[in-house]
């Protein structure tokens, strides 16, 4: 579990260059990566730095941003959720199946899919708080259970067929030049940001993750907030899975599995910036953008596909190891 070093008592006064670089180092890295690809691709026709491509990048990261923001809430409460990828895959399959196979209205299907995600979070939360099983392990198991349910329902097949236009609009529609999914994603991220930082529940989630003992001694029911955080994580995973299906027009049985590792990477990268040492929504978005730009940029400059994952993994390790070195994040 991530913990914060209390040992340092640095007291920055006025503008402090070192502190600024530390705090926004990851944001600077994002800008450097962006500039790097702009320059690299300019030798190959300059396809990276076009408004069309920048909009593309936003569309590509929109669903990941939702899942990663939900996961941020869980990590802020001091919990891990490794099941978000498999829960997203399951809910995507359910969404498509309920529309195509059961021929339910898409609104009802959405309630079913999102409800399933929240239920997964609820069960995880109960196991974590009642039976005191670490969430790292509980969600590992919950992910496997989601895979099982997924295969039991879809028999391992992809599901496609006609889907109502109102639903596919979420993933593929545009308002002016802006993809609708980007607007949805921005709205969800904004709501979660306000929730975590400005509401009572959000603050108590942060307090629980920051120091559970102190929070409990202040008369706050920490188990309630750990449960809520895990439910939000499950809900956002389901939302990511459902929107992905609306974009693709079909559901693959393990189509959203990558979200687990990508969103964990984004959250950890995010912990190195803005509010260092603490999971925070803006930091997570920086992480999501870094991952998205790396994916997109490497594609455009014609790098082999396997380089993407190698670079992503390296960026994650580099960012976190710098933060650990500066004693902002401490594990174990």
């Amino acid at each position: 579990m991530a913990q914060i070093s209390n040992s340092k008592s640095n007291e920055p006064r006025g503008f402090d260059v070192g502190n600024f670089v530390n705090r926004f180092g990851t944001v600077l890295a994002l800008i450097v990566i962006f500039v790097l690809f702009s320059v690299l691709s300019s030798f190959q026709g300059g396809r990276f730095l076009t408004s069309q491509n920048l909009i593309n990048i936003l569309r590509q990261v929109a669903t990941l941003a939702i899942v990663a923001s939900g996961l941020t809430i869980a990590v802020a409460a001091g919990e891990f959720d490794l099941s978000v990828g498999q829960v997203a895959s399951l809910t995507g399959i359910l969404m498509a199946g309920l529309i195509v196979r059961q021929e339910l209205p898409w609104g009802v299907a959405a309630i079913g899919a999102l409800g399933t995600g929240m239920l997964a979070g609820l069960i995880t939360g109960m196991l974590v708080t009642r039976f005191k099983i670490p969430s790292l392990i509980t969600t590992l198991g919950m992910g496997l259970i989601a895979v099982g349910v997924n295969y039991a329902y879809a028999r391992g097949d992809s599901i496609y067929g006609r889907m109502p236009e109102e639903y596919t609009f979420i993933g593929t529609g545009t308002i002016g030049p802006i993809p609708f999914v980007v607007i949805v994603s921005a709205a969800v991220v904004a709501v979660l940001y306000v929730f975590l930082n400005y509401t009572r529940t959000g603050r108590y989630i942060l307090a629980t993750g920051g120091n559970p003992t102190a929070t409990r001694l202040s008369g706050i029911n920490i188990n309630k907030y750990r449960l809520i955080a895990l439910m939000i994580s499950g809900f956002c995973a389901a939302m990511g899975g459902s929107i992905l299906v609306s974009y693709l027009g079909s559901a693959q049985p393990s189509g959203a599995d990558n979200y687990a590792m990508d969103s964990l990477a984004a959250v950890f990268i995010g912990m190195t910036t803005i509010r260092r040492g603490q999971a925070n929504i803006l930091g997570t978005i920086v992480g999501v953008l870094i991952l998205g730009i790396i994916n997109n940029g490497l594609n455009l400059v014609g790098a082999p596909f396997f380089l993407q994952t190698i670079v992503k993994g390296s960026v994650l390790i580099l960012a976190v190891s710098l933060a650990v070195r500066r004693e902002e994040i401490r594990f174990f």
Partner: protein
Amino acid sequence: METLLELQGISKIYPGVTALNNVDFTLRSGEVHALLGVNGAGKSTLVKIICGAQPPDSGTIKLQHNLLQINNTADAMRNGIVVVYQERTLIPHFTIAENIMLGLEPGRGQLINRRKLNERADQLLKRLGVELDLNKEVIQLGAGQQQLVDIVRALRTEPKVMVLDEPTAALSQAETKHLFDLLRQFKKQGIGIIFVSHRLDEVFEISDSMTILRDGHVVSSGPISEYTPARVTQDIVGRSVAKLETTPTLNIGAVLLETQNLSSAEFQGVNLKINSGEVVGLAGMVGAGRTELLETLVGFRRATSGKILLEGKPTQITSPENAIRHGIVLVPDKRIEKGLLNRMNVLENLTVASLKRYSGRLGWLQQKKMQEAATKAMDRLRIMPPSLNTPVQSLSGGNKQKVVFGKWLASSDDVRGLIFMFDEPTEGVDVGARADMWVIIRNLAAQGAAVLITSSDLDELMAISDRLYVMRRGQIINEGLKQEFTHDSILQQMMGG
């Protein structure tokens, strides 16, 4: 001054131990009342009962002459009794204001009114006469300021009684002075303060009265004017017990280990000399820096300045591995977490530090050699039951500690010139095993090793050492042959009376 809190006939029995026996305690409003006693005297049990963390088995608690029924800490808080624990209870990334108001944020429904939150925190600070930058995150604060935040938060409910558990343990002298200035203000506001401390000089500086506990009884209680440091020490310790003298070594040899001005965050300017053939004791209260000093000498921690000399040569000790290569070994305190492989058996534990000696080419382990060495160590230490296959988990405390010793004994047949350090070697060990260990330690010295030992048990240090250093707040304040000290004189120096 009116009586604020009154405990009568409080008893508390844990399985096997009477923690408190018919204790009376009275706190008046506007006084600082020190609570003193050695570890295990019953101080913490009494504090737990006052703040509702433990119910008493018998006795009554009255607050302003009303009988109180306290079942949990929330009850105590509601009645105006709060505790500031030794450990900080803050949320690192929250601001000071957010920490102070945690759980009582003003606002409507889900929305927190930050302006009001800061206002209320500010009002509280003004009322208490504390100056803090409300918008700073507590992770940026030093230990003293963090503690202030904790104290302010405890006072937000306008309590009548405040318990401070070792409040100055982590504070610098300037911070301590500031804290005391504040306590004097709180007194004027009529708050009754229970001050738990090991530091006699501070107790005499700030307290109005004191109560001394020993073995669960109140030894004495009264206004500070009735006490002298000497009397306090005597009351805390009682007449000293068990004498188990060991024979001192006659052949003290060359200096094996010397430190010059060794300093770190936990200790400053330490000058030590340890000769081969002698057992040197290091006395000090918990938190004086003893453990940190030993851990620095074996490279587990780093010194910030100063030198370590081995046989006269300046040496950098960079890691425990490196220390072992230089012949320095630490048998740590808290043996279960630091010294044992709990899930492995006696053989595996005894040989783990010296596997190199039993491995042939390609690192293949020679079982027979291992068994021979382990058996020898087991016999020398009289580990019971004498079986190499016993999982160490199932051994008694004393035998566990012997295994931790044995790990180092098995690693060398000739201990001449080696430096052995022991941190609380007989903590939680029965009397028989304790005597065994004293003999083992003396034998090491007799065979030409140098031994540095630290223990909270002064009787043990007096019994086993040839020479003693006394440490207080990270500094060596006295050194001398055992004969130059008495139990009471050491204790007085340790506590700074």
